[in-house]
């Protein structure tokens, strides 16, 4: 890794400290005024995200900081990527995750945050919405061929819907080679065992960690 200039150090610090306005202005200055290598700027962003992740592990940062960090990364990425030359490396997706709230449940904020975090962490995400019937999950699995299926539900009645959806996935022969996670509301090991999901997550970070571990990516 190249030694960082003072300006690069400042960008990483401001991003890691959630200093959104200053970080974005500096990134724009580096990219458009100083013609900095966009791949270098993206590398600096990833270094900042590593620091954010470290602070999260230490309990200094929580989900709101992770989401804000993801937004900053996405904003700077949207500025930098068009500047990357055609023969530069494009981002390859880590894997495909199908995401939806099970039938009978209309809650979506948790699912949306999970989708956002998976996306900015490099996954190709297909969100099929809320109150999704079993048949629609099956059709989406056949069409999208995800490595991971993520079922969301907040109400306690969603537990039965999750169980029903997973059973249908198995009966249709669509579980082989795929992992299924559940999340939302008051889900724990008991619910996970009841639904026969492979794992559960209590927040969007878990969803990313699980997906990375299942697809064989370093977390």
């Amino acid at each position: 890794m190249n030694a960082m200039t003072d300006q690069e150090t400042l960008l990483v610090e401001w991003l890691a400290d959630m200093n959104e306005d200053d970080a974005l202005e500096l990134a724009k200055k580096m990219l458009f005024d100083e013609k900095a290598d966009p791949l270098r700027v993206l590398e600096l962003c990833r270094m900042a995200m590593d620091e954010v992740g470290r602070r999260f592990e230490l309990g200094e940062y929580f989900l709101p900081e992770l989401v804000l960090a993801g937004e900053m990364l996405e904003t700077i990425g949207a500025l930098a990527k068009p500047l990357i030359s055609e023969d530069g490396e494009g981002a390859q997706k880590l894997g495909r995750v199908l995401l939806g709230t099970v039938h009978g449940d209309l809650h979506d904020i948790g699912k949306n945050i999970v989708g956002f975090m998976l996306d900015i962490n490099g996954f190709e995400v297909k969100d099929i919405g809320i109150d999704v019937p079993v048949a629609e999950f099956l059709a989406a699995i056949r069409e999208f061929d995800p490595q991971v299926v993520a079922l969301s539900g907040f109400l306690t009645l969603a537990f039965d819907s999750m169980k029903e959806t997973i059973e249908a996935i198995e009966r249709a022969g669509l579980r082989e080679g795929r992992k299924i996670m559940i999340g939302g509301g008051q889900i724990d090991n008991t619910v996970c065992a009841y639904t026969r999901a492979d794992a559960f997550g209590v927040n969007a970070v878990d969803a990313v960690t699980l997906s990375k571990s299942w697809i064989g990516v370093a977390a």
């Binding site: 929580f62 900081e65 904020i109 949306n112 945050i113 956002f116 109400l155 306690t156 008051q186």
Partner: protein, 222 residues
């Protein structure tokens, strides 16, 4: 039935600590958004419903039956149930959806959290009013359960909403017992003579207890 609308709950949200500079900044931003765009329509309604029969494991009130033995007091006499509904309207949930669509997830999350805090505030106001009401009648209030809590099945939600006149403040229920607007809640409290404070809390059995920003420190249920 007592009912109040257009409660100014936003001022209470200013006081909640956020724990970090970035979260405080986001909170201020979404508070301003909620004010500027008039996203909050806070309201509550309640009714004190006399028991139709002597209290037992089943409580009969207003033509409905509730299996709620936790509300039976250790002493004193249970004579009624206070049934209440609260909402902050649909403005915040719609704005959250638009922020998500605009990939502004941090603001969506912060606004959604604000909505939860505001709903707690409306619940608190409603309980204060109910307490004042029962005290004027020479009664006391103890124990709080919400449909879906351990101790009160979710399927009594339609009954609680009917008794608390939730329709008067625009709350509806879908076939899956999900309230619309989403940021709504209902509750049942015991009312009676010489009721002691309950020894339990509805938070004791909650799996989210350890990380809840609203719960006081409670020992987990045995």
């Amino acid at each position: 039935m007592p009912c109040a609308r257009d409660l100014d709950v936003l001022k209470a949200a200013d006081g909640l600590p956020e724990g970090s500079a970035s979260r405080s900044r986001l909170r201020r931003e979404v508070l301003e958004l909620a004010r500027d765009e008039r996203l909050v329509e806070a309201a509550y309604s309640y009714r004190i419903v006399a028991l139709d029969a002597p209290p037992g494991e089943w409580l009969h009130a207003g033509g409905e039956a509730f299996h709620a033995p936790w509300l039976l007091p250790e002493s004193g006499r249970l004579t009624a149930l206070a049934c209440a509904s609260c909402t902050i309207g649909a403005g915040i949930e719609r704005r959250v959806a638009s922020l998500v669509s605009a990939r502004r997830a941090s603001r969506a999350l912060a606004l959604d959290q604000l909505g939860n805090d505001l709903l707690f505030e409306v619940s608190r106001i409603a309980q204060d009013r109910m307490l004042a009401d029962v005290r004027r009648r020479g009664l006391m209030m103890a124990g709080e359960l919400r449909p879906g809590d351990p101790g009160l099945a979710l399927d009594v939600q339609p009954a609680v909403l009917r008794l608390g006149d939730a329709a008067a403040i625009g709350i509806e229920l879908n076939a899956g017992l999900l309230m619309r607007p989403h940021k709504s809640t209902s509750m049942v409290l015991g009312v009676g003579i010489d009721l002691p404070a309950v020894s339990w809390s509805r938070c004791q059995h909650c799996r989210s207890r350890a990380r809840c920003r609203h719960g006081v420190a409670v020992a987990p249920a045995a």
